[in-house]
Protein backbone atom coordinates (compact mmCIF):
# COMPACT_ATOMS: atom_id res chain seq x y z
CA UNK A 1 0.00 0.00 0.00
CA UNK A 2 2.50 2.60 1.14
CA UNK A 3 5.29 1.97 -1.33
CA UNK A 4 7.02 5.27 -0.70
CA UNK A 5 7.64 4.23 2.89
CA UNK A 6 9.79 1.29 1.83
CA UNK A 7 13.17 2.98 2.24
CA UNK A 8 12.84 3.93 5.86
CA UNK A 9 16.15 4.94 7.36
CA UNK A 10 17.68 2.54 9.84
CA UNK A 11 20.51 4.47 11.46
CA UNK A 12 21.51 2.54 14.53
CA UNK A 13 20.85 -1.02 15.61
CA UNK A 14 18.59 -1.68 18.56
CA UNK A 15 21.34 -3.33 20.57
CA UNK A 16 24.10 -0.97 19.43
CA UNK A 17 26.04 -3.45 17.32
CA UNK A 18 27.68 -2.67 14.01
CA UNK A 19 25.64 -3.66 10.97
CA UNK A 20 28.05 -6.48 10.16
CA UNK A 21 28.61 -7.67 13.70
CA UNK A 22 27.43 -10.94 15.22
CA UNK A 23 25.97 -11.24 18.66
CA UNK A 24 28.28 -12.93 21.21
CA UNK A 25 28.33 -16.64 20.35
CA UNK A 26 29.06 -19.56 22.61
CA UNK A 27 29.01 -23.32 22.09
CA UNK A 28 29.25 -26.37 24.31
CA UNK A 29 29.58 -30.09 23.61
CA UNK A 30 28.31 -33.09 25.50
CA UNK A 31 25.55 -31.55 27.54
CA UNK A 32 23.12 -34.47 27.31
CA UNK A 33 24.50 -37.65 28.80
CA UNK A 34 22.10 -40.17 27.29
CA UNK A 35 22.47 -38.90 23.73
CA UNK A 36 25.11 -40.22 21.35
CA UNK A 37 26.11 -36.62 20.69
CA UNK A 38 24.86 -33.30 21.94
CA UNK A 39 25.71 -29.63 21.80
CA UNK A 40 24.34 -26.25 22.71
CA UNK A 41 24.72 -23.07 20.73
CA UNK A 42 24.10 -19.59 22.01
CA UNK A 43 23.75 -16.51 19.81
CA UNK A 44 23.11 -13.59 22.09
CA UNK A 45 19.80 -14.39 23.75
CA UNK A 46 18.99 -17.23 21.37
CA UNK A 47 19.85 -20.54 22.93
CA UNK A 48 19.40 -23.87 21.18
CA UNK A 49 20.36 -27.35 22.27
CA UNK A 50 20.66 -30.28 19.91
CA UNK A 51 20.93 -33.98 20.61
CA UNK A 52 21.74 -36.76 18.19
CA UNK A 53 20.65 -40.37 18.55
CA UNK A 54 21.82 -43.01 16.19
CA UNK A 55 22.48 -44.33 13.68
CA UNK A 56 19.83 -46.69 14.94
CA UNK A 57 17.25 -49.10 13.69
CA UNK A 58 14.42 -47.44 11.79
CA UNK A 59 10.92 -48.67 12.51
CA UNK A 60 8.40 -49.13 10.91
CA UNK A 61 10.42 -51.25 8.52
CA UNK A 62 8.84 -49.85 5.34
CA UNK A 63 10.52 -46.50 6.03
CA UNK A 64 13.94 -48.11 5.80
CA UNK A 65 16.01 -47.36 2.75
CA UNK A 66 18.53 -50.06 1.83
CA UNK A 67 20.51 -47.58 -0.30
CA UNK A 68 21.12 -44.87 2.27
CA UNK A 69 20.26 -43.81 5.78
CA UNK A 70 17.53 -41.44 6.82
CA UNK A 71 18.02 -38.16 8.62
CA UNK A 72 15.16 -37.15 10.85
CA UNK A 73 15.20 -33.66 12.33
CA UNK A 74 12.81 -32.38 14.95
CA UNK A 75 12.81 -28.74 15.89
CA UNK A 76 10.82 -27.49 18.82
CA UNK A 77 10.52 -24.30 20.77
CA UNK A 78 9.89 -24.84 24.45
CA UNK A 79 6.89 -23.09 25.92
CA UNK A 80 8.99 -20.75 28.07
CA UNK A 81 11.38 -19.80 25.28
CA UNK A 82 9.38 -16.76 24.18
CA UNK A 83 7.87 -13.89 26.16
CA UNK A 84 4.33 -15.05 25.63
CA UNK A 85 3.90 -18.73 26.48
CA UNK A 86 4.07 -20.93 23.40
CA UNK A 87 1.63 -23.78 23.29
CA UNK A 88 3.75 -26.91 23.63
CA UNK A 89 3.99 -29.46 20.87
CA UNK A 90 4.53 -29.27 17.14
CA UNK A 91 2.86 -26.60 15.05
CA UNK A 92 2.93 -25.47 11.45
CA UNK A 93 6.06 -23.41 11.94
CA UNK A 94 8.07 -26.05 13.79
CA UNK A 95 7.23 -28.68 11.17
CA UNK A 96 8.57 -26.37 8.47
CA UNK A 97 11.73 -25.54 10.39
CA UNK A 98 12.31 -29.24 11.12
CA UNK A 99 12.18 -29.98 7.41
CA UNK A 100 14.48 -27.19 6.27
CA UNK A 101 16.94 -28.03 9.06
CA UNK A 102 17.08 -31.57 7.74
CA UNK A 103 17.66 -30.31 4.23
CA UNK A 104 20.40 -27.99 5.46
CA UNK A 105 22.24 -30.80 7.25
CA UNK A 106 21.70 -33.73 4.89
CA UNK A 107 24.22 -32.66 2.17
CA UNK A 108 27.19 -32.94 4.54
CA UNK A 109 26.26 -36.23 6.20
CA UNK A 110 27.51 -39.42 4.54
CA UNK A 111 24.15 -41.13 4.69
CA UNK A 112 25.33 -43.80 2.22
CA UNK A 113 27.33 -45.32 5.07
CA UNK A 114 24.25 -45.99 7.15
CA UNK A 115 21.77 -47.99 5.06
CA UNK A 116 18.50 -49.04 6.72
CA UNK A 117 19.07 -46.80 9.72
CA UNK A 118 17.97 -43.44 10.97
CA UNK A 119 19.90 -40.60 12.54
CA UNK A 120 17.65 -38.62 14.83
CA UNK A 121 18.42 -34.97 15.51
CA UNK A 122 16.37 -33.22 18.16
CA UNK A 123 16.69 -29.46 18.40
CA UNK A 124 15.14 -27.68 21.34
CA UNK A 125 15.11 -23.91 21.58
CA UNK A 126 15.13 -22.98 25.22
CA UNK A 127 15.39 -19.24 24.69
CA UNK A 128 14.42 -17.41 21.54
CA UNK A 129 15.39 -14.02 20.22
CA UNK A 130 15.31 -14.46 16.44
CA UNK A 131 17.60 -16.70 14.42
CA UNK A 132 16.52 -19.86 16.22
CA UNK A 133 16.74 -22.09 13.16
CA UNK A 134 20.28 -20.86 12.51
CA UNK A 135 21.33 -21.50 16.10
CA UNK A 136 19.63 -24.89 15.86
CA UNK A 137 21.54 -25.83 12.72
CA UNK A 138 24.86 -24.75 14.26
CA UNK A 139 24.12 -26.80 17.38
CA UNK A 140 22.98 -29.79 15.33
CA UNK A 141 26.18 -29.76 13.24
CA UNK A 142 28.24 -29.84 16.43
CA UNK A 143 26.10 -32.58 17.92
CA UNK A 144 26.40 -34.69 14.76
CA UNK A 145 30.17 -34.32 14.72
CA UNK A 146 30.42 -35.19 18.41
CA UNK A 147 28.26 -38.27 17.81
CA UNK A 148 30.97 -39.59 15.49
CA UNK A 149 28.76 -39.47 12.40
CA UNK A 150 30.64 -39.53 9.11
CA UNK A 151 30.39 -36.05 7.62
CA UNK A 152 32.06 -34.25 4.76
CA UNK A 153 31.95 -30.90 6.50
CA UNK A 154 30.27 -28.95 9.26
CA UNK A 155 27.40 -26.55 8.69
CA UNK A 156 27.29 -22.98 9.95
CA UNK A 157 24.21 -20.83 9.73
CA UNK A 158 23.40 -17.21 10.35
CA UNK A 159 20.57 -14.87 9.49
CA UNK A 160 21.04 -11.74 7.46
CA UNK A 161 18.45 -9.21 6.47
CA UNK A 162 17.55 -5.89 5.08
CA UNK A 163 16.25 -3.60 7.77
CA UNK A 164 15.08 -0.29 6.37
CA UNK A 165 17.81 0.59 3.92
CA UNK A 166 20.62 -1.38 5.55
CA UNK A 167 21.92 -4.91 5.07
CA UNK A 168 22.50 -6.29 8.55
CA UNK A 169 23.92 -9.47 10.02
CA UNK A 170 22.35 -11.61 12.73
CA UNK A 171 18.93 -10.07 13.31
CA UNK A 172 17.22 -9.78 16.67
CA UNK A 173 13.51 -9.81 17.40
CA UNK A 174 13.10 -6.02 17.27
CA UNK A 175 14.72 -5.93 13.85
CA UNK A 176 12.53 -8.72 12.52
CA UNK A 177 9.51 -6.67 13.60
CA UNK A 178 10.84 -3.44 12.07
CA UNK A 179 8.58 -2.20 9.32
CA UNK A 180 10.35 -2.89 6.04
CA UNK A 181 12.32 -5.91 7.23
CA UNK A 182 13.62 -8.84 5.20
CA UNK A 183 14.81 -11.87 7.11
CA UNK A 184 17.11 -14.34 5.30
CA UNK A 185 18.38 -17.35 7.23
CA UNK A 186 21.40 -18.80 5.42
CA UNK A 187 23.40 -21.97 6.06
CA UNK A 188 26.81 -22.61 4.56
CA UNK A 189 29.20 -25.51 4.44
CA UNK A 190 32.32 -23.60 5.44
CA UNK A 191 34.91 -25.67 3.58
CA UNK A 192 33.27 -25.71 0.17
CA UNK A 193 31.23 -22.55 0.61
CA UNK A 194 28.04 -24.18 -0.61
CA UNK A 195 24.65 -22.90 0.39
CA UNK A 196 22.47 -25.49 2.06
CA UNK A 197 19.70 -23.25 3.33
CA UNK A 198 18.32 -19.98 2.09
CA UNK A 199 14.90 -18.75 3.05
CA UNK A 200 13.64 -15.29 2.35
CA UNK A 201 10.85 -13.47 4.08
CA UNK A 202 10.23 -9.98 2.74
CA UNK A 203 11.51 -8.24 -0.35
CA UNK A 204 15.04 -7.50 -1.51
CA UNK A 205 16.70 -6.64 -4.81
CA UNK A 206 19.08 -8.98 -6.59
CA UNK A 207 22.20 -6.93 -5.86
CA UNK A 208 21.28 -6.54 -2.24
CA UNK A 209 20.68 -10.26 -1.89
CA UNK A 210 24.15 -10.92 -3.30
CA UNK A 211 25.58 -8.48 -0.78
CA UNK A 212 23.61 -10.13 2.01
CA UNK A 213 24.92 -13.58 1.07
CA UNK A 214 28.49 -12.27 1.11
CA UNK A 215 27.87 -10.82 4.55
CA UNK A 216 26.42 -14.12 5.76
CA UNK A 217 29.47 -15.94 4.43
CA UNK A 218 31.68 -13.75 6.58
CA UNK A 219 29.49 -14.34 9.63
CA UNK A 220 29.47 -18.08 9.04
CA UNK A 221 33.26 -18.11 8.94
CA UNK A 222 33.35 -16.65 12.44
CA UNK A 223 30.82 -19.22 13.61
CA UNK A 224 32.79 -22.04 11.97
CA UNK A 225 35.95 -20.96 13.77
CA UNK A 226 34.08 -21.19 17.05
CA UNK A 227 32.59 -24.58 16.17
CA UNK A 228 36.02 -25.91 15.26
CA UNK A 229 37.61 -24.56 18.42
CA UNK A 230 34.84 -25.93 20.64
CA UNK A 231 35.04 -29.42 19.18
CA UNK A 232 38.82 -29.58 19.40
CA UNK A 233 38.95 -28.23 22.94
CA UNK A 234 36.31 -30.60 24.19
CA UNK A 235 37.88 -33.68 22.72
CA UNK A 236 41.52 -32.83 23.38
CA UNK A 237 40.63 -33.11 27.05
CA UNK A 238 39.73 -36.74 26.62
CA UNK A 239 42.43 -37.64 24.16
CA UNK A 240 43.76 -41.15 24.33
CA UNK A 241 47.41 -40.84 25.17
CA UNK A 242 48.64 -44.08 23.75
CA UNK A 243 47.70 -47.58 22.66
CA UNK A 244 45.67 -47.19 19.55
CA UNK A 245 45.13 -50.78 18.65
Amino acid sequence: MKKENKETKYEKRFDGRNFDQLRPIEAKIGIIKNADGSASFKMGDTYAIASVFGPRDLRPRFLQNPQKGTLRCTYDMLSFSVTERKRPGPNRRSVEVSLVTGWALAPVICLDEYPNTVIDVYIEVIQANAGTRCAGICAAALALASAGILMKDLVSAVSVGKIGDKIVLDLIKEEEDFDPATDIPIAFTPRTGELTLLQLDGSISKDELKKAIELAKKGCQTIYDLQKKTLKEHFSKMELENDIQ
Partner: protein
Protein backbone atom coordinates in the same frame (compact mmCIF):
# COMPACT_ATOMS: atom_id res chain seq x y z
CA UNK B 1 53.99 -32.70 -4.29
CA UNK B 2 52.04 -34.03 -1.41
CA UNK B 3 52.23 -32.39 1.93
CA UNK B 4 51.04 -33.65 5.29
CA UNK B 5 49.14 -31.03 7.26
CA UNK B 6 48.55 -32.95 10.49
CA UNK B 7 50.57 -35.07 12.87
CA UNK B 8 49.92 -38.40 14.46
CA UNK B 9 47.44 -38.20 17.37
CA UNK B 10 46.10 -34.81 16.35
CA UNK B 11 42.40 -34.33 16.91
CA UNK B 12 40.59 -33.48 13.70
CA UNK B 13 37.02 -32.51 12.91
CA UNK B 14 34.96 -33.50 9.87
CA UNK B 15 36.03 -31.65 6.76
CA UNK B 16 39.47 -30.77 8.01
CA UNK B 17 42.28 -31.00 5.47
CA UNK B 18 44.76 -33.72 6.39
CA UNK B 19 47.08 -33.78 3.42
CA UNK B 20 47.43 -32.38 -0.06
CA UNK B 21 48.49 -34.19 -3.18
CA UNK B 22 48.25 -37.78 -4.28
CA UNK B 23 51.12 -39.02 -2.09
CA UNK B 24 48.77 -39.89 0.75
CA UNK B 25 45.86 -42.28 0.73
CA UNK B 26 42.59 -41.96 2.59
CA UNK B 27 41.73 -44.86 4.86
CA UNK B 28 38.99 -45.39 7.45
CA UNK B 29 37.38 -42.09 8.45
CA UNK B 30 38.95 -39.99 5.71
CA UNK B 31 38.14 -39.34 2.09
CA UNK B 32 39.62 -37.72 -0.99
CA UNK B 33 38.20 -34.58 -2.49
CA UNK B 34 39.98 -33.36 -5.61
CA UNK B 35 43.64 -33.72 -4.65
CA UNK B 36 43.26 -33.41 -0.90
CA UNK B 37 42.71 -35.94 1.83
CA UNK B 38 40.06 -34.76 4.27
CA UNK B 39 38.75 -36.00 7.59
CA UNK B 40 35.31 -37.54 7.49
CA UNK B 41 34.87 -38.05 11.18
CA UNK B 42 35.83 -36.56 14.48
CA UNK B 43 38.78 -38.47 15.88
CA UNK B 44 42.49 -38.94 16.23
CA UNK B 45 44.82 -39.08 13.25
CA UNK B 46 46.78 -42.27 12.79
CA UNK B 47 49.31 -42.25 9.97
CA UNK B 48 50.80 -45.55 8.88
CA UNK B 49 53.03 -45.25 5.86
CA UNK B 50 51.06 -43.44 3.20
CA UNK B 51 47.56 -44.05 4.51
CA UNK B 52 45.82 -41.70 6.89
CA UNK B 53 43.25 -43.20 9.24
CA UNK B 54 40.95 -41.53 11.73
CA UNK B 55 40.36 -43.39 14.97
CA UNK B 56 36.93 -42.28 16.16
CA UNK B 57 36.63 -40.84 19.67
CA UNK B 58 32.89 -41.19 20.03
CA UNK B 59 29.98 -42.84 18.39
CA UNK B 60 28.38 -46.21 18.15
CA UNK B 61 30.29 -49.40 17.83
CA UNK B 62 31.34 -50.11 14.26
CA UNK B 63 31.38 -53.88 13.74
CA UNK B 64 34.58 -55.35 12.36
CA UNK B 65 35.39 -58.87 11.34
CA UNK B 66 37.17 -60.77 14.08
CA UNK B 67 35.99 -58.64 16.98
CA UNK B 68 34.95 -60.42 20.14
CA UNK B 69 31.68 -58.94 21.30
CA UNK B 70 29.13 -59.33 24.05
CA UNK B 71 25.55 -59.23 22.88
CA UNK B 72 22.03 -59.86 24.04
CA UNK B 73 19.53 -62.01 22.17
CA UNK B 74 16.94 -59.63 20.79
CA UNK B 75 14.90 -61.74 18.42
CA UNK B 76 14.58 -65.21 17.00
CA UNK B 77 13.74 -66.67 13.65
CA UNK B 78 13.39 -70.27 12.50
CA UNK B 79 17.09 -70.83 11.97
CA UNK B 80 18.87 -67.89 13.53
CA UNK B 81 18.95 -65.51 16.44
CA UNK B 82 19.14 -61.74 16.20
CA UNK B 83 21.66 -60.33 18.63
CA UNK B 84 21.97 -56.75 19.81
CA UNK B 85 25.67 -55.91 19.87
CA UNK B 86 25.32 -52.16 20.42
CA UNK B 87 25.77 -51.12 16.82
CA UNK B 88 23.14 -49.67 14.53
CA UNK B 89 22.45 -53.09 13.06
CA UNK B 90 21.34 -56.32 14.67
CA UNK B 91 23.76 -59.18 14.32
CA UNK B 92 22.72 -62.62 13.14
CA UNK B 93 23.73 -65.83 14.84
CA UNK B 94 22.90 -68.86 12.75
CA UNK B 95 22.11 -72.28 14.13
CA UNK B 96 25.09 -73.64 12.20
CA UNK B 97 27.58 -71.41 14.00
CA UNK B 98 26.82 -72.35 17.59
CA UNK B 99 28.74 -75.10 19.40
CA UNK B 100 25.62 -77.10 20.29
CA UNK B 101 24.09 -79.58 17.86
CA UNK B 102 20.61 -78.34 17.10
CA UNK B 103 18.08 -80.53 15.35
CA UNK B 104 15.85 -79.37 12.56
CA UNK B 105 12.74 -77.51 13.68
CA UNK B 106 13.99 -77.43 17.26
CA UNK B 107 12.76 -74.75 19.62
CA UNK B 108 15.64 -72.27 19.54
CA UNK B 109 14.62 -70.62 22.79
CA UNK B 110 15.75 -73.73 24.63
CA UNK B 111 19.32 -72.91 23.70
CA UNK B 112 19.47 -69.15 23.77
CA UNK B 113 16.43 -67.29 24.94
CA UNK B 114 15.47 -63.63 24.79
CA UNK B 115 17.73 -61.36 26.86
CA UNK B 116 20.39 -64.05 27.25
CA UNK B 117 23.87 -62.58 27.17
CA UNK B 118 26.34 -64.25 24.86
CA UNK B 119 30.02 -63.84 24.10
CA UNK B 120 30.71 -64.36 20.42
CA UNK B 121 32.96 -63.34 17.55
CA UNK B 122 31.98 -61.39 14.48
CA UNK B 123 32.63 -63.75 11.59
CA UNK B 124 31.45 -61.59 8.73
CA UNK B 125 30.33 -58.06 7.95
CA UNK B 126 28.90 -57.58 4.49
CA UNK B 127 28.76 -54.36 2.52
CA UNK B 128 25.09 -53.97 3.25
CA UNK B 129 26.00 -54.15 6.94
CA UNK B 130 24.70 -57.61 7.71
CA UNK B 131 26.65 -58.80 10.74
CA UNK B 132 27.16 -62.50 11.26
CA UNK B 133 28.25 -63.91 14.58
CA UNK B 134 29.88 -67.19 15.44
CA UNK B 135 30.24 -68.95 18.75
CA UNK B 136 32.51 -71.70 17.55
CA UNK B 137 35.86 -71.43 19.20
CA UNK B 138 37.45 -71.28 22.60
CA UNK B 139 35.66 -69.27 25.25
CA UNK B 140 32.60 -68.24 23.30
CA UNK B 141 29.56 -69.09 25.37
CA UNK B 142 26.44 -67.91 27.09
CA UNK B 143 27.26 -65.78 30.12
CA UNK B 144 25.49 -66.71 33.35
CA UNK B 145 25.22 -64.44 36.37
CA UNK B 146 27.50 -61.53 37.09
CA UNK B 147 26.83 -58.08 35.74
CA UNK B 148 27.32 -56.25 32.50
CA UNK B 149 28.45 -52.64 32.16
CA UNK B 150 28.73 -50.52 29.06
CA UNK B 151 31.61 -48.20 28.22
CA UNK B 152 32.45 -46.20 25.14
CA UNK B 153 33.81 -48.52 22.43
CA UNK B 154 36.71 -46.13 21.80
CA UNK B 155 37.87 -46.65 25.40
CA UNK B 156 38.15 -50.42 25.13
CA UNK B 157 41.84 -50.48 24.08
CA UNK B 158 42.67 -48.43 27.17
CA UNK B 159 40.68 -50.73 29.46
CA UNK B 160 42.55 -53.73 28.10
CA UNK B 161 45.89 -51.94 28.22
CA UNK B 162 49.14 -52.88 26.57
CA UNK B 163 49.20 -56.66 26.21
CA UNK B 164 46.23 -56.75 28.56
CA UNK B 165 48.14 -55.16 31.44
CA UNK B 166 45.25 -53.13 32.77
CA UNK B 167 42.55 -55.78 32.64
CA UNK B 168 44.82 -58.52 34.08
CA UNK B 169 45.65 -56.25 36.98
CA UNK B 170 41.99 -55.53 37.69
CA UNK B 171 41.18 -59.23 37.45
CA UNK B 172 43.94 -60.15 39.90
CA UNK B 173 43.15 -57.48 42.46
CA UNK B 174 39.40 -58.00 42.50
CA UNK B 175 39.30 -61.74 41.99
CA UNK B 176 36.66 -61.36 39.30
CA UNK B 177 36.22 -63.00 35.96
CA UNK B 178 36.05 -60.20 33.39
CA UNK B 179 35.26 -60.42 29.71
CA UNK B 180 35.70 -57.30 27.61
CA UNK B 181 33.84 -57.09 24.34
CA UNK B 182 35.20 -54.85 21.60
CA UNK B 183 31.75 -53.27 21.44
CA UNK B 184 32.23 -51.66 24.84
CA UNK B 185 30.30 -54.17 26.87
CA UNK B 186 32.08 -55.67 29.83
CA UNK B 187 30.92 -58.67 31.79
CA UNK B 188 32.08 -58.96 35.39
CA UNK B 189 31.57 -62.03 37.53
CA UNK B 190 32.73 -62.46 41.11
CA UNK B 191 31.69 -61.76 44.68
CA UNK B 192 29.70 -58.59 45.33
CA UNK B 193 32.61 -56.54 46.67
CA UNK B 194 34.86 -57.62 43.85
CA UNK B 195 32.26 -56.75 41.22
CA UNK B 196 31.77 -53.34 42.78
CA UNK B 197 35.50 -52.64 42.87
CA UNK B 198 36.01 -53.82 39.29
CA UNK B 199 33.12 -51.70 38.05
CA UNK B 200 34.48 -48.61 39.75
CA UNK B 201 37.97 -49.27 38.44
CA UNK B 202 36.74 -49.71 34.86
CA UNK B 203 34.62 -46.57 35.09
CA UNK B 204 37.71 -44.73 36.32
CA UNK B 205 39.71 -45.95 33.35
CA UNK B 206 36.96 -44.84 30.99
CA UNK B 207 36.80 -41.34 32.45
CA UNK B 208 40.54 -40.82 32.83
CA UNK B 209 41.57 -42.62 29.69
CA UNK B 210 43.61 -39.62 28.57
CA UNK B 211 45.90 -39.83 31.61
CA UNK B 212 49.35 -41.31 31.66
CA UNK B 213 50.39 -43.86 34.27
CA UNK B 214 46.81 -44.91 34.77
CA UNK B 215 47.65 -48.56 35.52
CA UNK B 216 49.49 -47.56 38.68
CA UNK B 217 46.69 -45.23 39.73
CA UNK B 218 44.10 -47.97 39.35
CA UNK B 219 46.36 -50.37 41.22
CA UNK B 220 46.65 -47.95 44.14
CA UNK B 221 42.91 -47.37 44.08
CA UNK B 222 42.09 -51.08 44.21
CA UNK B 223 44.68 -51.82 46.88
CA UNK B 224 43.55 -49.00 49.14
CA UNK B 225 39.99 -50.19 48.68
CA UNK B 226 40.93 -53.65 49.80
CA UNK B 227 42.66 -52.34 52.94
CA UNK B 228 39.50 -50.54 54.07
CA UNK B 229 37.56 -53.74 53.86
Amino acid sequence: MGELLVQNKDIVIPGEKLATGMDFLPSNGSFRSNEDVLAQQLGIVNITGRSIRIVPLTGKYIPKEGDNVIGAIADMSFNNWYVDVGSAYQAMLFVSSVPEYIEKNADLSQYYNFKDIIYAVISKVTRSKVIELSMKGLGYRKLFGGKMITVMPSRVPRIIGKQGSMITMIKELTGCKIIVGQNGRIWIYGDIEGEKAATEAIMMVEQKSYKEGLTDEIKNFLESRRKIE
